[in-house]
Symmetry: C2
């Protein structure tokens, strides 16, 4: 099995890699993210690649470095992390009672493994539609009071208590959590066994 | 808050009720399930109601008893728990590379709370489409060897290592795990505060 490095400090992404039985080391990329695209698919692929390439610089030949980036998109507008309770309330008021899209980009840099000795690169984006039930003002306030939204793109985490406000999704559930482990495994499996 | 009894011994259903912040007691129904319908929606609603009514018989007035039943359906045929490794392999060979449906029925008996003093009843079924990636013989054998499929309808659990074989879903993810907590909360919320 190849050595795997996860270039993200997210505990949710760690859990998901563990869930599909992979062993890995965590080295979060601290590189400043540079936004160069406008479309959500392009943004998340590019940012995930920036993270993976940052860590791959110092990796041994043959190592796989996994970078990942997730954004929430509403009518083409990107919603980031709310950081404050007021922003979280405002975001949730926009999301309730309708559908939005979650995009996660994943890039895997396999150090020095292209035919010409440069890095092999796998990069893709997955989209999941998420439909949120209508929420009352009290429900939004109660959820924001849990503190859960502050560090999450779109101001919610699907895997916690917010699940009670989610009617359904179309696509990969784990993609909404931050790592589309089905697609990731399918893309990687030819590379896992050396 | 009303007293809630979960009439199921499933640890996954317990986790999900806890996830949406409900407090409850577990009293699994041990009544023999009697199959009276042919359509998956009807079967799961009826079996969930049988379980809830069984436990509600001895419940105090005002208590909510939640029963639940999940089946996997492939081209209209119900797939149960495989029980043996051979059955699990055969089921997974039917599921790989295509979509199937998971139905969970939920019935909530609210003891003595109908207008005429009989039990109020909420009963519904949720359907989720699940698309499984193509699987090789080796992948099927490796998954069955984990022992995970044996006690699960359709021979897989979406919340474990099998996630790497799932391309996506359409509907409620938690419904596939055995309890559609979004819909359940929406149906119950008018009843939760007395």
């Amino acid at each position: 099995m190849r050595k795997i490095i996860l270039a993200s400090g997210s505990p949710r992404r760690r859990e998901l890699l563990t869930q599909i039985g992979l062993e890995y080391t965590v080295i979060p990329s601290k590189k400043e993210e540079i936004l160069r695209f406008t479309q959500p698919e392009d943004i998340v692929k590019d940012l995930s690649l920036q993270k993976a390439q940052d860590i791959a610089e110092n990796a041994e030949v043959g190592t796989m470095v996994i970078g990942s980036d997730t954004v929430v998109s509403l009518d083409g507008e990107i919603l980031g992390k709310p950081h404050t309770s007021e922003n979280a309330v405002a975001m949730l008021k926009r999301l309730e009672g309708r559908s939005h899209q979650v995009y996660t980009g994943v890039s895997v840099v396999i150090k020095g493994m292209a035919a010409d000795g440069t890095d092999a690169i796998i990069s893709f984006a997955e989209k999941t539609d998420v439909h949120v039930y209508p929420m009352t003002e009290e429900e939004i306030q109660a959820y924001v009071a849990t503190g859960d939204p502050l560090d999450k793109a779109g101001a919610y985490g699907i895997q916690g208590i917010f699940a009670k406000h989610v009617q359904g999704i179309s696509g990969c559930y784990y993609n909404v959590m931050g790592l589309p482990i089905g697609r990731l495994y399918q893309e990687l499996k030819g590379w896992l066994e050396v």
